[in-house]
């Protein structure tokens, strides 16, 4: 009976989740317009300081190892908060792009499709970057945790640049020449 109990609980949880998705989908369809207001602005300066390697180098030189690990964890937590915000914003962009997919103009539909694809990429990469940040949180001294985070950011950057180009096709695309 223990097995039956476990399976019943699992089935009930899955059913509740699926029904809640159905309800939120209906609400999304009726809401629609307020999407842009859901986008949260990112504090660029704070984010820049957080991921500044010189800052980290400075802290590493000045602080004892144990204290540095504590500080680095705090900084990683803050970085995670920013990446989460970028991921949430990407999800809003997915919804906005999808609402434009039913437009009559073929160019708008194409642009919307591209926007959706890139926003999905951003959302996916934000999730991957978060996983890597959490791994780095667990082992703040590990060398392996750093490179994948940077790689995740590279992917985020690429998709964000594509999004920017879609938003403003006349602006030159800043493909990173210094990469």
């Amino acid at each position: 009976m223990t097995l039956a109990f476990i399976l019943v609980i699992a089935a009930a949880l899955a059913l509740v989740f699926i029904l809640s998705v159905t309800l939120s989908r209906n609400q999304q369809i009726s809401r629609g317009v307020g999407l842009a207001a859901q986008i949260q602005p990112i504090d660029v300066e704070a984010f820049r300081t957080l991921v500044d390697p010189l800052e980290d180098d400075y802290l590493r030189r000045r602080l004892p190892a144990a204290e540095f690990r504590l500080v680095r964890r705090e900084r990683l937590r803050a970085t995670a908060a920013y990446v989460r915000t970028a991921g949430r914003n990407a999800a809003v962009l997915v919804s906005m792009g999808q609402s434009a997919l039913s437009a009559n103009d073929a160019q708008t539909v194409d642009a919307a499709r591209q926007l959706v694809d890139n926003a999905l990429l951003l959302r996916r990469n934000a999730a991957l970057a978060l996983i890597r940040i959490y791994v780095a949180l667990a082992w703040p001294n590990s060398v392996m945790a750093v490179a994948p985070i940077l790689h995740g950011y590279e992917q985020l950057s690429g998709s964000a640049m594509l999004l920017g180009r879609l938003q403003n096709p006349t602006a030159p695309v800043r493909i990173s020449a210094t990469l």
Binding site: A4, A10, A11, F17, T22, R25, R69, M161, G164
Partner: protein, 261 residues
């Protein structure tokens, strides 16, 4: 009222399957057969299998053993059909987004492997009846099919919800009906397969299964054949400044290195 061979029992066994045949017929007439081939096949074959089982139950010439053989045959047809239908839902939800194609396949394959393992472990711990093996085997097969099916559908719902993918109305209806049916049937078959319950309780679980299936067929009918209300929504303006901000900041990140402790 909630006993076998009552009017409600006959109604709940026959009506949803006749309605499902009707849904299949309308799908064919409206040209949706090519868009949802797995659901089209499921609608016809599943309804026919259930009606054949009903006929076998009603005919005195059919022995109990043959009834369970027919049940087994129906399950062996219905099981692969359901997995094909889950595959069709997955392909249509994720297939149109190039950026998610690889991740989607990875997720669904991982979920599939984990669910098959979980179903095998659950089957190993489910009590077997040595005397009526054909019956307990059928219960076990139902539990296994619904465990994998419900898990895969939940994975599709979780992933589509995380990425905020909008699923078009007919496909959403198919996925919703199939998911409700899979979750409720998983719970009831798990109880039946592991339970040793009294016949009266067993009959109530049968009623719950049949009523749920009826509701699911009505959901399919509604989502596939009743047109959606057309609402003219104004286009949502895209926030240029925010995107530019992300773009600049993330680009800067690429040029930097995080320090190695």
């Amino acid at each position: 009222m909630l006993r076998a061979h009552s009017f409600l029992w006959h109604y709940l066994w026959v009506a949803p399957n006749v309605l499902l045949l009707f849904v299949g017929l309308l799908i064919w007439k409206r040209g949706l057969r090519m868009r949802f081939p797995a659901f089209f096949a499921f609608a016809f074959l599943s309804a026919i299998a259930h009606l054949a089982l009903y006929a076998a139950d009603e005919m005195p010439s059919i022995t109990a053993e043959n009834f369970w053989r027919i049940d087994w045959a129906g399950l062996l047809i219905e099981g692969p059909l359901k997995f094909a239908l889950v595959g069709e839902i997955f392909a249509q939800v994720f297939g149109s987004y190039a950026s998610l194609a690889r991740l989607g396949k990875f997720l669904i394959r991982s979920a599939g492997v984990a669910l098959v393992l979980a179903a095998a472990i659950a089957a190993a711990y489910t009590p077997k009846d040595g005397v009526f093996g054909i019956i307990s085997g059928a219960h076990l097969l139902e539990q296994t099919i619904y465990l994998i099916e419900a898990g895969l559908l939940a994975a599709i719902f979780i992933a589509s919800s995380y990425f905020r993918l909008s699923i078009d109305r007919p496909l959403f209806g198919i996925a919703l009906g199939l998911s409700i049916s899979a979750c409720v049937h998983l719970a009831t078959w798990a109880v039946i397969a592991n339970g040793g319950w009294a016949n009266s309780t067993r009959a109530r679980l049968d009623f719950l299964n049949m009523a749920t299936y009826h509701v699911c067929v009505l959901i399919w009918f509604y989502y596939l054949l009743v047109p959606a209300r057309v609402s003219q929504k104004p286009a949502v303006p895209l926030p240029e400044n925010d995107l530019d901000l992300w773009n600049r900041e993330l680009e800067r990140l690429v040029h930097q290195r995080l320090p190695q402790p």
